[in-house]
Symmetry: C2
C-alpha cells in the first residue's frame, strides 16, 4: 500500500528534492558547494524574514534548541519557559542540563499562553533573561501568540525571546526582524520539505550581544565559530552536503511560490481541515490551532491509537496520536510543507470512512464537502 505522510515531521519530500539529493556527492571545500551554500543562505534569510545570518547545523531541531540556549545564556541565569506540551518541556530539560534556572508558565495542553502572564512574570522576576516558547507546539497543534510575546519582551533590553519555530517556519508568517524575534530555530523535516538531519538558527543583534556574555560550554554548537565560517560560505564542521543540496531545491520551490502564497496555502489547507472536522461534529483540540497541523479531540468512544492504526492499515495514511496524558484522546493530522487541497480531501474522506467503521455516526461526504467549499471560496 502507498504510504502518505500526514505526520508532523517527517513530512513528504518533493520528488525533485529527493532526486537532487541522489546526485553524486561533491566536496564541501569546492566552489560548487560555496555557490550552493551562498544561494541557500540567502533563501533562508527570505524564509526567516531576517537580514541576519541564518546558520545551518548538521543535527536535528533539538540540536539548534540546545545551541540557542548554550550560546546566549550564562550558568545560573533564570529563564521563563512556556510549557504547554512536550516541546515546551524540552526547553526546560535543556536548561536544566546546562544549569540554567527556569521559571515555568504551565499552560493547559491545547491552549496558547496569555501574553499578560508573561508580562506579569517579567515584572515579578526581574532576573529573567530569556523567554522560551514554541511558535507551534507540535504535541498539541497550538499556535502561541509570538507577535504579542515579542512586544512584551521588546520593552526590556535585558531579556530576549527564543522561539522554537521547528514546526511553523516556512508555513506560518513569522517575520523575525519585524516582530523582534531574538532567536529563531527551525528544522529540515517540517514545512521545509526535507528529510530530517538539518537544523537552522538565526539571532537578532540583541541576541548576538547576549552571546558575548554567555559562558555555557559549547563546541559542536558554537554559533560564533559557525557564523565566522558560514559568512565565508563554509561550515565549521563537515556539513550534511546532500541535505543542503535538497534544501536548495526546496527553498527554490518556496521562493517560486512566494512566501505569502505559501502562508496563504497553509492557512486555507488548515481552514478546510478544520471546517471538515467541525462538520463531522468533532472539536478542534487546539486553541488557536496552528496552520501546520490539526489536532482533533476524539469522542470518548473512539480510541485514538486505534484510529491512527486503522488510518494507516486501511488507507496508508500516517498520522500522529496524542502524547502522554493525551494518548488515545486526540489525533494529529499535519499539513505542512508539500501539501495541496487534494491531500486534505483524501485524508478527510478516509477519516469519515474510518470513523464510521469504528461506530461513530458519520454522514459520508459531510466533512469532505465542507473542505471543498473552503477550497472553492479560496479559489484553490
Amino acid at each position: 500500500m502507498k504510504k502518505k505522510l500526514f505526520s508532523p515531521g517527517p513530512t513528504p519530500v518533493p520528488e525533485g528534492v529527493l532526486l537532487a539529493m541522489a546526485k553524486p556527492l561533491f566536496h564541501h571545500r569546492d566552489p560548487v558547494f560555496e555557490e550552493l551554500f551562498q544561494e541557500v543562505r540567502e533563501d533562508l534569510k527570505y524564509v526567516f524574514q531576517t537580514k541576519q545570518d541564518v546558520l545551518v547545523l548538521a543535527s536535528s531541531g533539538t540540536g539548534a534548541m540546545e545551541a540557542a540556549i548554550v550560546n546566549t545564556l550564562r550558568k545560573g541565569d533564570t529563564v521563563l519557559v512556556i510549557r504547554g506540551g512536550k516541546f515546551g518541556e524540552r526547553w526546560g530539560e535543556i536548561c536544566e542540563a546546562y544549569g540554567v534556572d527556569i521559571i515555568p508558565i504551565d499552560v493547559e495542553w491545547g491552549q496558547a499562553v496569555d501574553p499578560v502572564l508573561v508580562e506579569r512574570s517579567l515584572e515579578t522576576y526581574p532576573e529573567i533573561r530569556a523567554v522560551l516558547v514554541q511558535a507551534c507546539e507540535t504535541s498539541t497543534g497550538v499556535l502561541h501568540p509570538i507577535k504579542e510575546l515579542c512586544e512584551v519582551v521588546k520593552k526590556r533590553d535585558d531579556v530576549i525571546i527564543i522561539v522554537d519555530a521547528i514546526s511553523a517556519l516556512g508555513a506560518v508568517d513569522l517575520p523575525m526582524d519585524l516582530w523582534g524575534i531574538d532567536v529563531m530555530v527551525a528544522g529540515s523535516q517540517k514545512a521545509l520539505m526535507l528529510p530530517p538531519g538539518l537544523a537552522f538558527i538565526a539571532l537578532s543583534e540583541k541576541a548576538w550581544g547576549f552571546c558575548e556574555m554567555s559562558d555555557l560550554p559549547k563546541y559542536y554548537f558554537d554559533l560564533k565559530a559557525e557564523l565566522k565560517n558560514q559568512r565565508k560560505n563554509q561550515t565549521h564542521f563537515t556539513p550534511a552536503i546532500s541535505l543542503i543540496v535538497g534544501l536548495r531545491e526546496a527553498l527554490r520551490m518556496i521562493k517560486e511560490e512566494g512566501l505569502q502564497n505559501v502562508f496563504r496555502r497553509h492557512e486555507v489547507l488548515a481552514r478546510a481541515m478544520q471546517e471538515g472536522v467541525k462538520a463531522l461534529g468533532l472539536e478542534i483540540f487546539s486553541n488557536p490551532p496552528s496552520p501546520t497541523l490539526t489536532a482533533i479531540k476524539l469522542p470518548p468512544e473512539i480510541d485514538g491509537q486505534k484510529l491512527k492504526r486503522n488510518l494507516e492499515d486501511h488507507y496508508g495514511l500516517i498520522t500522529a496520536g496524542g502524547q502522554e496524558h493525551l494518548k488515545g484522546k486526540i489525533i494529529r493530522i499535519a499539513h505542512m510543507g508539500y501539501f495541496e487541497p487534494s491531500d486534505i480531501l483524501q485524508v478527510m474522506a478516509a477519516l469519515e470512512l474510518e470513523l464510521s467503521k469504528m461506530g461513530y455516526p458519520v454522514e459520508f461526504g459531510k466533512g469532505v464537502s465542507s473542505a471543498q467549499r473552503v477550497f472553492k471560496e479560496a479559489g484553490l
Copy 2:
C-alpha cells in the same frame, strides 16, 4: 568534466546507496524504521567489532567526538591528548570548551605517537583519566598504534582510551572488544560510503562506568538517553532517516564483501598507491601511513596547492592539500570506502601526467606500473 572524489571525506557514495536514499520518506515511529534500525545496529556492531551497542547520532563526526568527552568525563578531569595533526588538536579544543584539563603529547606532524611516551605520561601524571587519540590522523595520513596504546591503558582501571576512528573505521582493522578500545567514534562520510550527517559511537563496559560519574553538561549528545532509546530501535531525537536508509545499503555492501576482505582491499589499494609514489621518486609523508589515505611529500619545486588545483581542473580529480604549516608541501589522496584498483590507476596516471607538466621529471607509466604489479601480485 566528471568529478571524482579522492578527498578524505566526503568520499564517493555508491549509486545503490544514493538511489535508496531517494525513495519517499517514512516515519521514524513506523515499524519499517524499527526494522531498518535494528538491521543497521547489528551491522554496525559487526563493523565496530563489538558486542556493545553502537549509537547513531544526527551530527558530523565532531558531534560524536564531543559526545565521547561530555559523557565520560568530569569537570576538572585531566586527559592525555595525542596531538599530531588537526584532529588531535580538536580533541584538545573540545576538552578546553568543557573545562577538562589536557596534557598534550605533541607529535611531529607525519609521525605516529610512541606508546612508551604514553606509558610514561600515565606514570608521571596519575590524575590522567583518559587518553584521546586518532586511529588515522586525517590531516597527516598517519596511523597511530591503537593496539599498543590499548595495551598501555588496559593496565589501569581508572583510565580509558577514546579513539577517533572517523577516517579509519570500515577500512582498517580496529577490533574494539579484542583490543580494548573504550570509546570509538566514527562518521558516515568516510569508509562507510555515505554523505556526511551521521556519526557513530560505541563504549566499552569500562567507559559506560565512567558515564555514571560524568558531570559535564549534555542534552543533544546524552548517550545514556540515546542508549535507552536505541535499544528499542528508536532514537532520542528525530533521526536523519534518509541517511540511515543509505547506511543500511552501505553496511550490506560491507557485509557482503566481508570485513576482512574490505581491510585487505584497503591495504592493497594503499600499498599500490605507496609503491607508485615511491617509483616516481617521491616520499610518503606519513609514518606509518594509514591504508585510508596517502599523503605525499612534494619536492620543493612543486606547489602542492597548484598540483591539487591542476588535478581537479585537468582531470576532475578532487584531492586534498596540506593544512596549516603543511600547506603546499603535501598532497593527500584518499582511497577509503567505495574504491577499487582502477581508481588508483586513474589517479596515479593523472599524477604522473600533472607532475610532468609542472616540470617534475617523470618517466610516464613508472608509478602506474608499480601499482599494477602490486595488484597483480595481490590477485586484484
